[in-house]
Amino acid sequence: MSKQIERAGIPVVHACSIVPISKTVGANRIIPTIAIPHPFGDPNKSPKEEKEVRKALVKKALKALATPIDKQSVF
């Protein structure tokens, strides 16, 4: 899905926990996330801390989208 959207000229950041799969499939901008069942969360943290971690990840994703790359990159 990432590739088809990117083929249309829109940059995509793939946020996922299994980076090797993302790499094999061919996403170009990849950000590793926390865990498979909760990529943007951490139930072991307090709700406040969890949200901070989530926000940091989304900020990282936005940064990746604004970064020029010439090959597959993990941020």
Binding site: P11, V13, P37, L62
Partner: protein, 355 residues
């Protein structure tokens, strides 16, 4: 008397001796006997006789596929549906080597003929021929070289594979030189998977060649898109393969091998909650996602960042499917459809989340 195998052979206008690109719109025509590569086939296999040769122009079939196939069916029916004992028993098409249109013709004809007449049909192509992806699941495609240099070998393998099928023999993609259909077959092995894996590892450590029992599919690549120039004014969209859907899963997206994606409104939503949304994904423990769907698709913080001006605006819908054994072909299609919707709304950046 030695058993004779009668076959119908399909060729394009070029190999059928009708002409080059100027004859590419040639409608299908049937000729008695062998033509071009069919003559080589008869020389290689004295027990094979080409009963007839079907010739069709590359463009005619690629442009008007349905019509061409109907016409081909009408031409072939009197032969394959005949009562005669020596009617042709199978069909060979090509080899098409790396020719795209020819490959599509060979694949489409083989697929139709085996379905309509329940007879074996075999073609041959270069593995990267674009028609391979389309037809390898249903059609026996012998691995051939890029061009006619490989004619003899490809014809041999096609004929042997066709005759083996006629005789009901056991087939194997490696031994019989065809592109695997991508189906798994159960069999009884002498050693367990664990000891076969150890054997393989030991061979690998010893620097010997190993053959995997589970070939990974090959994936294509796409050039990285240029970055977003001005994030503060950019329109952002959210997509997920993590299965976040409105409660009740209104589109009934399957928990595995999803056959669709959903388009869901974000209008007036500042965050997902366990009251409004859930996961439909069957490939991970849903507890954490159902407690707080923002853990899969982080809408709550995306809205905060939107308010803070970290990006321009959020697209009105998000798109979701379940990435759990979903075929690459289906995922490609979802991505393609979603891209069209995003372009129509001027979206400039996408966050795609996966579990």
């Amino acid at each position: 008397m030695e058993h004779r195998y009668r076959v119908i052979h399909c060729l394009n206008q070029f190999f059928g001796g009708m002409g080059g690109e100027e004859k590419a719109y040639q409608p299908p025509q049937l000729f008695e006997g062998a033509r071009g590569p069919g003559m080589l086939l008869e020389n290689l296999f004295p027990n094979i006789q080409v009963a007839a040769t079907l010739v069709v122009g590359d463009n005619y079939l690629a442009d008007k596929t349905e019509r061409a196939l109907r016409e081909i069916l009408a031409l072939l029916t009197p032969w394959y549906a005949a009562e005669s004992a020596d009617k042709p028993k199978f069909l060979l098409a090509g080899p098409a080597f790396n020719a795209g249109r020819y490959g599509i013709a060979c694949g489409a004809i083989c697929q139709m003929v085996q379905k309509e007449f329940s007879i074996p049909a075999v073609t041959a192509m270069y593995p990267q021929n674009p028609a391979v992806i389309e037809y390898k699941k249903n059609v026996f495609i012998v691995r051939a070289g890029k061009d006619v240099m490989d004619m003899e070998e490809a014809l041999r393998n096609m004929a042997v594979l066709g005759i083996k099928q006629l005789n009901g023999e056991e087939l194997d993609p490696d031994r019989d030189h065809y592109i695997p259909h991508g189906q798994r077959k159960n069999y009884f092995a002498e050693k367990t998977g664990a000891s076969r894996a150890i054997d393989m590892l030991l061979r690998k450590l010893a620097g010997k060649q190993i053959h995997t029992e589970c070939t990974m599919p090959l994936f294509d690549r796409v050039e990285p898109a240029p970055p977003v120039r001005d994030m503060a004014s950019a329109r952002l969209a959210l997509v997920t393969s993590g299965g976040i859907v409105p409660r009740g899963n209104p589109d009934r997206i399957e928990a595995a091998s999803a056959s669709r994606f959903g388009t869901y409104s974000l209008n007036g939503l500042s965050r997902f909650s366990s009251e409004t949304h859930q996961t439909a994904h069957g490939g991970y423990d849903p507890t954490f996602a159902n407690d707080d769907p923002n853990r899969i698709l982080p809408l709550d913080v995306v809205r905060e960042l939107e308010a803070e001006g970290a990006f321009g605006s959020l697209h009105d819908s998000y798109y979701a499917t379940v990435g759990n054994g979903t075929s690459v072909a289906n995922a490609d299609r979802y991505g393609f459809e979603i891209a069209k919707l995003l372009l129509a709304d001027g979206v400039q950046a996408v966050i795609l989340t996966s579990t």
